[in-house]
């Protein structure tokens, strides 16, 4: 959604008033002077869109085109009137209506005196009306017409029209970015605040309000939403907001005001970052208004992030090493006491991998039902702990058998590093250690990826997933092989497979005398 904010100046540039009000009826908002040989006219623009035209034309006093009196052309009233209209002081700053009311016409004849009195009475009424309206409206605001209607900019005193235009265009861009979170707000926008400003307790903003920057003290009522892009919004106890308060940047201080809607604060995120950057640059560069945005940051900083990532990587690598050592120690114990059984299971893992995996998978699914069957069937209560113990032992034993098989397969390869690190040994101890090294490597790699921070978070996650899947596959396959071989006691099963070629060690292998795995 691209909203184009068409700004149109409502009144003459030089006569920009400060006493306009959002609900003004007779408030003077601008003026135009016309001087000719036989006529001198003043056109007053009113806040309600209407106008008053006062003319001394060819001997007649005309108000809005109707004859209200007469005067002597070139006489004292004519001279005094023309002198007033050509006085620069009359149009400087605010209070045009007041200065008109202060004017005392110089009228010597009867006709001039009567018309002069009529003008004084008219200007008194206009000043009274303007002052009354200004008192009830927001002071020191300037109004401009935008595509959605009329919007007041406050305060008007420090901004040129060019700055006003840029401010409104900027607000339009931000509303566009905010999208659905402020849907409809731009059509109902009544007041834009860009500097320190107060909405008094007896004032009503008929529509939504946006705070671009500065301190806005809200004591009165906003019949709409409030959008805080930057600056500090203070809700006084007397403040009333009929809609929501949406805070994208800046700060909202609730001193007891009443908000009928929801108060939503975007504390951090892409939108907050955009606001922090975009508005700050735009406002500072274009409007020369100091901006301070309080967006909570979750970043540690560059150095902190590096330290954090190194710590993460180191702890992960250490965990992998500890697991390797612990499982290797367990594996060595198993090899020492149950080598033949472990080798039989490992042979089945290698020779009949898919079948072992399938049986292992089925075995896992059957663990709980079998337990319940034992509980319900109750052959003897002793069966249950024996069964649970068997399952508990089979899982790590299966994993070690799988590691043994992987280690054998690795030893079969022509990996130079095996020789370089003197890991090429045709013994079950080395098979288990090498296999564990391979199975745990993805965990270590995943941990090492922490060094790259968040850049490869997906790859890191995938690596850990692969590591977990590999572990589960190894456990399942080893578990299945244990079932197939009855815990490694059924050697005949392994011999059914034809895997001699795979299993045979190269001639160059060194042997430490621990013996080959039996087939």
């Amino acid at each position: 959604m691209r909203r184009v904010w068409m700004v149109a100046v409502a009144v003459a540039v030089a006569l920009w008033p400060a006493a306009s009000g959002l609900t003004a009826q007779e408030a003077v908002t601008g003026s135009t002077v016309s001087l000719a040989a036989g006529a001198a006219s003043l056109e007053l623009a009113l806040a309600d869109g209407g106008s008053r035209i006062i003319s001394l034309r060819e001997g007649e006093l005309l108000i809005d085109g109707e004859v209200q009196g007469s005067y002597e052309p070139g006489g004292t009233l004519d001279s005094s009137w023309r002198s007033l209209l050509t006085s620069p002081a009359l149009f400087e700053g605010s209070g045009l209506a007041d200065r008109l009311a202060e004017w005392v016409p110089d009228a010597s004849g009867d006709a001039d005196a009567a018309s002069g009195s009529a003008l004084e009475a008219l200007f008194d009424r206009l000043a009274e009306s303007s002052n009354r309206t200004a008192a009830a409206a927001l002071p020191e605001t300037a109004t401009i017409n935008v595509s959605g209607g009329q919007v007041a900019i406050a305060p008007s005193r420090i901004m040129s029209l060019g700055e006003l235009n840029r401010g409104v265009e900027l607000l339009g861009r931000q509303l566009e970015v905010l999208g659905g979170q402020v849907a409809g707000m731009e059509d109902n926008l009544a007041l834009v605040v860009h500097d320190d400003y107060t909405v008094d307790a007896d004032q009503l903003v008929e529509g939504s309000l946006a705070l671009l920057s500065g301190d806005l003290n809200l004591e009165g009522t906003v019949d709409g939403d409030v959008l805080v892009l930057d600056g500090v919004l203070t809700l006084a106890r007397s403040a009333r907001v009929s809609g929501d308060i949406l805070q994208v940047g800046g700060e909202v201080i609730d001193a007891g005001g009443r908000v009928s809607g929801e108060m939503v604060s975007l504390l951090a995120g892409e939108l907050g970052g955009l606001i922090a950057g975009d508005i700050a640059v735009d406002l500072v560069d274009e409007m020369d208004v100091p901006v301070q945005v309080h967006v909570r940051s979750n970043q540690r900083g560059f150095i902190g992030s590096i330290g954090h990532n190194i710590g993460h990587a180191f702890s992960g690598l250490m965990a992998s090493v500890m697991w390797l050592l612990a499982l290797s120690a367990l594996g060595f114990v198993v090899v020492y006491f149950f080598r033949s059984r472990l080798e039989v299971v490992a042979q089945v893992v290698r020779a009949d991998t898919m079948r072992s995996f399938g049986v292992g998978l089925a075995g896992q699914l059957m663990v709980l039902p079998v337990l319940l069957l034992l509980v319900v069937g109750i052959v003897t209560w002793l069966v249950i702990p024996v069964y649970a113990l068997a399952v508990a032992l089979a899982i790590p034993a299966g994993y070690l058998a799988a590691a043994h098989a992987v280690g054998e397969a690795v030893q079969d390869q022509n990996f130079e590093w095996l020789d370089r690190f003197r890991l090429r040994r045709a013994s079950s101890y080395h098979y288990v250690f090498t296999g564990l090294l391979f199975l745990l490597a993805p965990f270590a790699i995943g941990s090492a990826l922490y060094l790259l921070g968040g850049m490869l978070g997906f790859v890191r996650g995938l690596m850990f997933f692969a590591a977990g899947a590999l572990t589960w596959a190894a456990v399942s396959t080893g578990f299945g092989a244990i079932i197939l071989t009855r815990g490694g006691g059924r050697k005949g099963h392994a011999s059914q497979a034809d895997f001699d070629d795979l299993f045979s060690a190269p001639d160059s292998f060194e042997s430490d005398g621990e013996g080959e795995a039996s087939a």
């Binding site: 009928s260 975007l266 979750n298 992987v406 790859v459």
Partner: protein, 288 residues
Amino acid sequence: MLRTTLAAAALLVAAAPVVAQETDWTEVRARRQADGVASLTIDVEYFAGELRVAAADAGLLYDTHLKYDAARMRPERKWSVDGEAARLVIGFEGIGDDGEIDFDLDMDEEDHGFLNLGLSPDVPTDLRMKVGAALSVVDLGGVPLTGLVYQTAASDTELAFGSVNPASMERLELKVGVAEFTATGLGNARFDELEFTGGLGDVRLDFTGEWSADASATIEMGLGSLTLVVPPDLGVRINKKGFLASLDAPGFTKVDGAWQSPGWESASHRLDIHLRAALGTIEVRQAS
């Protein structure tokens, strides 16, 4: 065969797409004043992350502080008012065609989502929560609850009533899947009826607190351990079903098929527990 398996595993790792997952961690705080609302119903669905619930500041109806990955999900808050009764629905929807949310469950990560929910200390609230895989700390002390339903699938939950419920609730319903669940200060909850359903895990229900009326509890437990902590001045009677679950209740005596605490007859307030457990251990301990 093993060569093929290893090759496939290596391929799986090597073929991992070198694509960094974009995240957009966003924090939003949303709160609403309590003016004009006499009762509130809150439905919360929170799937993954860290969940904390506590009393909000006085004058607020609710106060939510949410951190989420805007690249994956979009939070939803639905607000409706019917007279002086209001309803708030807090949930999420995924970004994408299927609307499913891809969660990051790594709670060790510095950047993980959370929801801090503050509840009105003034307005009676009916709270219903569905929690997926989360770390939950729910302290409902000082919150006037007229009802509570807490369901969780696989969360570690600490539910506490740190002080007496200013309101009272007819029913307190807790449904726990596979989780570690601890509830303390249940005597402060001022419920008439408690229903607890547990699947698998360690559960601790602490009934200490300031009891003001009699109550009943129905507890169904699947597999796992259940610990009941009861105050010494509360009369407790346990009617247990399920012969595979052992009951260890020191000091309790069996009367008419039910286990009664020593002070059952003279207790000013009593808790009648109907307990059904499939398999596991049940311990009853008196609070010191």
